[in-house]
């Protein structure tokens, strides 16, 4: 088992390198660079730069090198000094910009991940155990709608409904009072309420996906011979469902962990913009638009690393869950 984990971790490094190259390549792909968009923005305000000044800016930021040299310097900085580069837009180090929102982003993503599994597993099991019942149809229908609605629009709809019901607009995770007075205990209920909307919005499509997987898997497993064997042995339905079927049905759910993370990051990027959440999404969009490339690159890179870690964890969990995989890896 240890050897297997070690092997996986080693494989992790080259993949990560390729990812970073790819991301950097794509990020610098747009024509022009930060200086171009900066100069354009300044020109709009009436300040005109001379070509010499522009060249000076480029040289100062190291933007006159070819992209692979820039990549190499960026990587060198990350590996040797833990320096993720400089954010032109914010005028300080990328890492400190990211740290502003990193914990909240991770917390929101983690809560959504947990929410997805906590909600979808029981519903999926229920649907499979009551196949073709009214409950199954109703839940499946809601599930389908959930996957079919783009989640940023779901955000608008939910906010609209809340607005109509309460007359309040809940934008962002913190109210103005909270921001002014700092976090106090009496704000906790409101904060949790504000968290609920993003969780619902970002988590819904993933939740519905997992419900469908769990349901299909449970039905598959229930049709297997060993279910019949267990029943013939005198096992109760609960034992059959939880000990036998669920255990086997968990495999694809566990291996979908990384996929879930991916959809959460994707969903939260757009939804955060709509809901004005203080997480990484809006920063990324702004950075991409203004070609603040080290910032954009680092955000995407962090997300990719987290997905990779998710893959790694789910592979290890899978090996731990399924003796067949465990043994083939041992040999």
């Amino acid at each position: 088992m240890l050897k297997y984990v070690g092997k996986r971790v080693l494989l992790f490094i080259p993949t990560l390198l390729i990812i970073s190259i790819l991301i950097f390549f794509i990020i610098q792909l747009p024509p022009g660079d930060y200086v171009t968009s900066y100069v354009a923005a300044m020109a709009a305000e009436g300040e005109i730069f001379t070509p010499e000044q522009i060249e000076g800016l480029r040289a100062q930021f190291g933007l006159d090198d070819p992209w692979y040299v820039q990549y190499f310097n960026w990587m060198k900085g990350i590996i040797t000094r833990g320096d993720f580069g400089y954010s032109f837009e914010y005028g300080r180090g990328v890492w400190s910009v990211i740290m502003d929102r990193l914990y909240l982003t991770l917390a929101v993503s983690f809560i959504i991940l947990v929410f997805q599994y906590v909600v979808s597993l029981p519903i999926g099991i229920f649907c499979a155990n009551h196949q073709y019942s009214v409950g199954d149809y109703a839940l499946s229908f809601i599930g389908f709608i959930g996957t079919a609605t783009p989640n940023f629009l779901l955000a608008i709809i939910i906010m609209y409904i809340i607005y109509i019901r309460t007359g309040n607009v809940y934008l962002g995770l913190f109210s103005t009072e909270m921001l002014q007075n700092g976090m106090r205990w009496e704000y906790v209920p409101e904060f949790l309420g504000r968290c609920l909307i993003p969780i619902l919005v970002i988590g819904t499509s993933g939740t519905c996906g997992i419900i469908r997987t769990v349901r299909a898997q449970m039905l598959d497993e229930q049709a297997r011979q060993y279910t019949l064997t267990a029943r013939a042995k005198g096992c109760s339905e609960a034992v059959i469902t939880y000990k036998y079927c669920l255990r086997a049905a968990l495999n694809p759910v566990v291996s979908g962990l990384a996929g879930s993370l991916r959809t959460i990051f994707s969903g939260s990027t757009v939804s955060a913009i709509v809901m004005n959440l203080a997480i990484q999404g809006p920063v990324l969009l702004a950075a991409l638009k203004s070609q603040d490339m080290y910032l954009a690159g680092t955000i995407v890179l962090i997300q990719a690393v987290l997905v990779l870690v998710g893959t790694l964890l789910s592979d290890i969990a899978l090996a731990w869950l399924d003796p067949r995989i465990r043994f083939s890896e041992r040999g």
Partner: protein, 344 residues
């Protein structure tokens, strides 16, 4: 029912099984009457799709939800006496106390009969813990003991191994161990050797015979292989299209088959010692679809002895020809026009 002179432990009365499908309701088992006595091995023979597997699963109530069984299956249950198994809730406590404890079952494909997620020991022991003792240490002892009895060498080590580390034959032994661990009155064996190599087949059959003597149980042996029936069974029931068409002792069936279908089946078995080039006999036609059953005898269209105007009009009933040899055929047991059956 203790002390009755007939030692019947299981009696099916007019068992019918319906399956709901998209196109309507199929009656797949159309009235089966069968008795199993104490210590007896009954062979249920028929080709694929004749309903023999459904019949056997109906005893335990483990058929799919789409299937509905009618009629009666009386079982001499411990404590409660003759009980109609069909009247018990299929997911209820009473039937679960019978499953695995008093009636157990082994299946066709041992490779998929165990969950790949748990050790063999865990899965065998589950039955022990459910029905015999809650004491884990004692239960493991009992399970190990049965594993040894069914010929699993090195049982202590095997106990902690997973199904994928077992061979097919070994898995079938483990499955038998799981079925026998509670010392059941009746063992249902649904084609237990079909998926195995011929040599392993012989070993398993031998094992079952020995175990039957040791445990004193009855066996309902379901198969399409007449060779196995000849070797294993005391009584043989031949099933065709959801009905028993002939039922007699094994000696009688082989020595004096009556129903044209039984004869056809026997004719299609290759006998060792017959001289060379003779072609195997094959029965003409295919089994009619259960959805649009023809009127009259189900075998009418394929039968060589059919009597037009009788067999395609009326459905023959099982009729005793004497010595307990029962057959459902107008050509063998006389036409209803000529008045009633000889016996009864």
């Amino acid at each position: 029912m203790s002390g009755a002179k007939d030692d019947v432990i299981l009696r099916m009365k007019d068992l019918k099984i319906n399956i709901r499908v998209d196109e309507g309701v199929l009656t797949v088992v159309r009235g089966v009457d069968l008795e199993i006595h104490k210590g007896e091995t009954v062979g249920l023979v028929g080709e694929s799709g004749c309903g023999k597997s459904l019949t056997s699963k109906a005893i335990l109530g483990i058929n799919d939800k789409k299937c509905r069984a009618e009629g009666q299956i009386l079982f001499d249950a411990e404590g409660t006496g003759m009980t109609d198994l069909l009247s018990l809730k299929p997911r209820g406590r009473e039937i679960r106390a019978i499953r695995g404890k008093q009636i157990s079952m082994i299946f066709q494909e041992p490779m998929v009969a165990f969950s790949p997620m748990y050790t063999i020991g865990n899965q065998i022991n589950e039955a022990t813990l459910l029905h015999i003792t809650k004491d884990k240490k004692k239960a493991k002892e009992i399970s190990l003991d049965v594993m040894k009895k069914v010929g699993i060498a090195n049982a202590e080590k095997r106990y902690d191994q997973y199904p994928h580390e077992f061979s097919g034959g070994m898995l079938q032994r483990a499955l038998i161990a799981m079925a026998l661990v509670c010392n059941p009155k009746l063992l249902i064996a649904d084609e237990p050797t079909t998926a195995l190599d011929v040599t392993i087949q012989a070993q398993i059959l031998e094992l079952m015979k020995t175990l039957q003597k040791d445990f004193g149980m009855s066996i309902l042996f379901i198969t399409h292989d007449l060779g196995i029936v000849a070797r294993m069974c005391d009584t043989v029931a031949v099933m065709y299209l959801g009905r028993i068409v002939e039922c007699a002792s094994a000696v009688e069936i082989y020595g004096n088959p009556m129903h044209p279908y039984t004869r056809g089946l026997l004719g299609s078995v290759h006998k060792i010692g017959t001289k060379g080039q003779k072609r195997l006999f094959s029965i003409e036609g295919t089994v009619p679809l259960a959805l649009n059953l023809p009127k009259g005898c189900g075998f009418y269209e394929r039968c060589s002895k059919r009597i037009d105007g009788v067999c395609n009009v009326q459905d023959p009933q099982l009729t005793d020809l004497g010595d307990g040899h029962r057959v459902a055929c107008f050509a063998c047991a006389g036409c209803p026009g000529k008045e009633e059956p000889v016996h009864e």
